[in-house]
């Protein structure tokens, strides 16, 4: 932060920033997710690169003012390519003492903290476990603190509005705070004003109150002497096209619909609500005009059972859940494997084990989806790496499922699900079309007669005359599919299913590397850690270190060039949000000894954490 000496409120200095990370924090009822989203949308429309990450409690409304109830939303806006919501926010907007306490440790030293002093009452301080007010005891000396009576200012702005009590008026104070940040960062109010009209068009008094609060916050920034500097983050140069903001689960839902629609098939989604996967169900339930059939099942097992039934019926079948749900689905995943029906199982990982941290992110289901079932159970696994990549990998999951006639796991995580970034809207004509063939020829038909290239069996839809057949979960003979307990038949089926999955290697892209093709250190990641790793590796390269980054999106089978690629670096560092699951596989599969960077705190990597480890290893 620059210190400037001669200032007047009418003439603030505008400072150009490359990027800034802002965190909005308050009670879970304070509307912080909405405030952050509004700031993001406006910034995206202005042409900044954006990356966001919401961090909210599992409790919908924990007691007001307590640490348990703090909800936060961080947005990073930039004039250059960014990959993460930012390590440490430069600005924290804290709506109460609990929000300050819960987020203070993350704020960059020298950063700005805007506090709503109206909420710093003895009662609220006590609820946040403060013995004395942090505003008075010098504990915030490292920061620039802006003490604003946001509640009072907001009420004053809404004074005289008929039909609204103080409670309703106070609900608008998040928009007052939003208006203030819009002024600080030189953003237009247009996008939010437009949104207010869309959202509250039929409740004119609410629309008016929010509009007034937003504008009052903006004017407060203009008139107060608290702010001596405004900041500007310029437009980010990206390839031309039409853009929108997209969140991971939204992208996944659109990817799944796209895959089915382009293949000319109905999409069936069986699911039981679970955080952080539920938003896929909600998105798809609103797309019934796309021949999407959603089924909110009575439990996780029914969800996957219905999807397997739908796959038997010839639909693009999908089920989605998080780690605890995968536990319950594992028997049925094996049924799909043995029936050899195409099915996509979406696992949006969260902190485990058991109920764990429902709203926090983690990458600890990898071994579960690879191995957590009875018997030899090879199931392909794909993992998107950014919110926008969720779209492509959703399509890819269906492509592999149909090709191999197999269940496929789409392994995302809470971070990807809920964070957002700009997405260049594709032309549907440029997207891959999955070719589906349903056999209708009864001549020499057998249900487990395999395609020579893919080893997939024919996908026959009930209703097709002359091809009536029975399939089941018992051991069977290849070809006829007849029940068989013969030792040789059993081993043959086990091996051919494994070979079938392995052959997908022939259709998946080779592993790409960012950086030198050989050198000191290769940092390997998978899933939602892409941004932090890429940023850290780029920074390390800038320091002259010999480091490259490989982000593995195909976790079973691996890209065929992966083993040789790993051998081209003196050391391989596997960075993941677990205790070393991919590293365990690399060590076992490739007979190597990986270096590890692990974190299981329910939070994504910070760039600095990855960079520090890189610096230790690549000297």
């Amino acid at each position: 932060m620059t210190e400037l000496s001669v200032l007047t409120p009418d003439d603030p200095v505008v400072e150009e920033l490359e990027s800034v990370a802002i965190r909005f924090a308050g009670d879970s009822g304070d509307g912080m997710q909405l405030t952050g989203t509004q700031f993001t949308n406006t910034s995206a429309v202005l042409g900044n690169d954006i990356s966001t990450f919401p961090d909210f409690p599992a409790e919908i409304r924990a007691p007001a003012g307590t640490l348990a109830g703090v909800s936060g939303f961080q947005v990073n806006i930039s004039s250059r390519d960014i990959y993460t919501p930012g390590d440490a926010p430069q600005v924290l907007v804290a709506m109460n003492p609990a929000a300050l306490k819960a987020n203070l440790a993350d704020v960059e030293p020298g950063g700005t903290i805007i506090v709503n002093i109206d909420e710093f009452t003895p009662g609220n301080l006590k609820k946040a476990n403060y013995d004395a007010s942090p505003l008075d005891d010098g504990s915030l000396d490292r920061f620039r603190v802006v003490k604003a009576p946001l509640t009072t200012l907001n009420r004053n702005a809404l004074a005289g509005m008929e039909g609204l009590g103080n409670k309703e008026k106070d609900r608008c104070k998040n928009f007052f705070a939003l208006g203030l940040t819009f002024w600080m960062y030189d953003r237009s109010l247009d996008t939010s004003l437009h949104w207010i009209q869309e959202k509250f068009g039929n409740k004119p008094e609410v629309a008016e109150a929010n509009t007034r609060a937003l504008k009052a916050g903006y004017h407060f920034g203009e008139t107060t002497e608290e702010f001596r500097t405004r900041y500007r983050v310029s437009r980010f140069e990206v390839p031309p096209g039409t853009y929108r903001k997209i969140m991971g689960n939204e992208a996944a839902a659109m990817g799944f619909v796209t895959a089915a629609h382009l293949a000319g098939k109905p999409l069936f989604y069986g699911s039981y609500p679970i955080t952080p996967a539920s938003s896929i169900l909600e998105h798809l339930a609103s797309l019934k005009n796309f021949d999407v059939r959603t089924f909110q099942a009575e439990d996780e097992i029914a969800a996957i059972g219905s999807a397997i039934g739908a796959a038997f019926g010839g639909a693009f079948a999908l089920t989605g859940t998080s780690g605890p749900g995968i536990c319950l689905k594992s028997e049925a995943m094996n049924l799909a494997l043995v029936l050899e029906l195409p099915l996509v199982v979406a696992d949006i990982q969260r902190g485990g084990p058991s109920t764990g941290l429902p709203t926090k992110t983690e990458q600890s289901d990898l071994l579960q989806v690879l191995f957590g079932r009875n018997g030899e159970s090879p199931i392909p696994v794909v993992a998107p790496c950014t919110p926008a990549d969720c779209f492509m990998m959703a399509i890819e999951a269906f492509r592999l499922a149909v090709r191999a006639m197999s269940p496929v796991v789409y392994l995302s995580d809470g971070y990807l699900a809920n964070s957002s970034e700009p997405w260049r809207i594709p032309d549907p004509d440029d997207l891959p079309v999955i070719q589906v063939e349903h056999r209708t020829d009864p001549d020499h038909f057998m249900p487990y007669l395999r395609d020579e290239v893919t080893l997939g069996r024919p996908w026959v839809v009930p209703g097709t005359p002359g091809l009536e057949h029975r399939i089941g979960g018992l051991g069977k003979m290849d070809g006829s599919g007849n029940v068989s307990y013969t030792p040789q038949d059993h081993e043959h089926m086990i091996k051919i299913r494994a070979e079938k999955v392995q052959r997908l290697q022939n259709t998946i892209p080779e592993q790409q590397v960012f950086g030198p093709a050989e050198g000191d250190l290769l940092v390997v990641g998978w899933g939602g850690t892409y941004g932090a790793i890429r940023s850290a590796v780029a920074a390390a390269q800038g320091m002259g270190l010999s480091v490259a980054h490989a982000h593995v999106r195909y976790l079973n089978p691996f890209p065929r060039n992966l083993p040789s690629l790993l051998g081209r670096y003196r050391r391989v560092l596997v960075a993941e949000l677990n205790l070393g699951q991919l590293a365990f596989i690399f060590n076992g599969r490739f007979g190597m000894k990986c270096e590890q960077l692990n974190k299981v705190q329910g939070q994504p990597f910070k760039i600095s954490e990855v960079l520090r480890r890189i610096q230790e290893l690549a000297r």
């Binding site: 069936f268 089924f295 029975r470 029940v483």
Partner: protein, 357 residues
């Protein structure tokens, strides 16, 4: 998904017999049910390819292998879930779920009640032999209190389920009951079940000759059966007994068995109303058990409600009518969008959301 299919050549029992060797124990009640099914199916005039049998795990669940139709032998208790997904994708298929007292009421109890509540257009046959047969003789949720089995050597201490009561509690629209060896009666019940739109729940008393032989002797031994069975017929008074000389009369809020004659005529008896929306009579029938009462057999309840797939498809049609058929371009653009032009200095332009998908 055509609603009607061109009638093919008339099928016979043999057309529904698969090439698989039947592997139930000799004397198992399942043989009789399989035979009744294969005999009755041709009467429906539905081509084989439009029929699907789905089962879970247990002796009864081997059923699909023996039917020359489409079929799935799935996992324990879950058959109704697969059948539901299949029905939602192609409601024109006739889907039969074959389950047992363990598969359907123990491990799969949850799915059964939810399937019934949703009124998915399926036919669910629950073979009730009051025992676990395939795992060799442990007590089941329908085993009677005190039943000594391998896992209850001192007698079961559990209250048993009444499958018909469960179906009623789950708001089933079709509930019937029959017995494995009542070939003709079963054929009639299956036909009515098949023609019902919605979930048809049929409890079939079935004898396990190895682990629970004689469980249904009171209904199958020629000497006593006629005095223990009440054949239900819609609109007919509830008369039963070898000499049709007994009946069921309402006494206050409770049913009672009366002897006809001595001033008691059929006019005094309860008249069966299978189509009553109000379920009191059905509840009464569900709770009638020997030795105080004869066992009611036949269609206990049959009411009309929209099926699950009907409602689902109606919503899809409504969505298409409102927003037009799915259009990916519109879907992607349904948000605030902005244009980035090739000209570096040009400002990004805001577009409004298209507002429809």
């Amino acid at each position: 998904m055509s609603e009607t299919t061109v009638p093919g050549p008339k099928l016979s029992r043999k057309d529904f017999v698969s090439n698989q060797e039947v592997r139930w124990c000799p004397g198992c009640g399942d043989y009789a049910i399989l035979a009744a099914m294969q005999r009755f199916l041709p009467e429906l005039g539905i081509p084989r390819e439009k029929i699907v049998f789905v089962s879970g795990i247990g002796c009864s669940s081997r059923f699909p292998y023996y039917m020359n139709t489409y079929g799935m032998h799935t996992i324990h208790g879950r058959a109704p879930t697969l059948a539901t997904g299949l029905n939602m994708v192609d409601p024109s298929l006739q889907v039969w779920v074959v389950t047992g007292d363990g598969d359907g009421l123990s491990i799969g109890g949850n799915h059964l009640v939810h399937c019934l509540r949703r009124n998915v257009n399926l036919n669910i046959l629950l073979f009730n032999n009051r025992i676990y047969g395939l795992t060799k003789g442990q007590y089941s949720p329908t085993s009677l209190p005190g039943h000594k089995t391998k896992s209850s050597p001192m007698g079961s201490i559990e209250q048993s389920f009444n499958p018909v009561s469960i179906a009623l509690g789950a708001e089933a629209t079709f509930i019937a009951r029959t017995v494995d060896v009542y070939a003709k009666h079963m054929g009639e019940v299956l036909k009515t079940a098949a023609e019902h739109q919605g979930t048809s729940f049929v409890e079939i008393y079935q004898n396990c000759i190895i682990y629970n032989h004689h469980a249904w002797d009171h209904l199958t031994d020629t000497g006593v059966r006629d005095d223990n069975v009440l054949y239900l017929e819609h609109g007919k008074p509830m008369v039963f007994g070898k000499d049709s000389d007994k009946g069921i009369r309402l006494n206050g809020l409770k049913p009672e068995v009366v002897q006809l004659g001595d001033g008691i005529t059929e006019d005094d008896l309860l008249v069966h109303d299978a189509y009553a929306e109000e379920p009191t009579l059905a509840w009464m029938l569900a709770r009638m058990e020997p030795p105080q009462f004869p066992v009611p057999l036949g269609v206990i309840r049959q009411v009309q409600k929209p099926t699950y797939a009907e409602l689902a498809l109606k919503q899809m049609e409504a969505a298409r009518a409102r927003r037009g058929p799915g259009d990916l371009r519109k879907l992607y653009m349904d948000a605030d969008t902005w244009e980035i032009s090739a000209e570096p200095e040009a400002a990004a332009a805001l577009n409004g959301g298209s507002g429809s998908r």
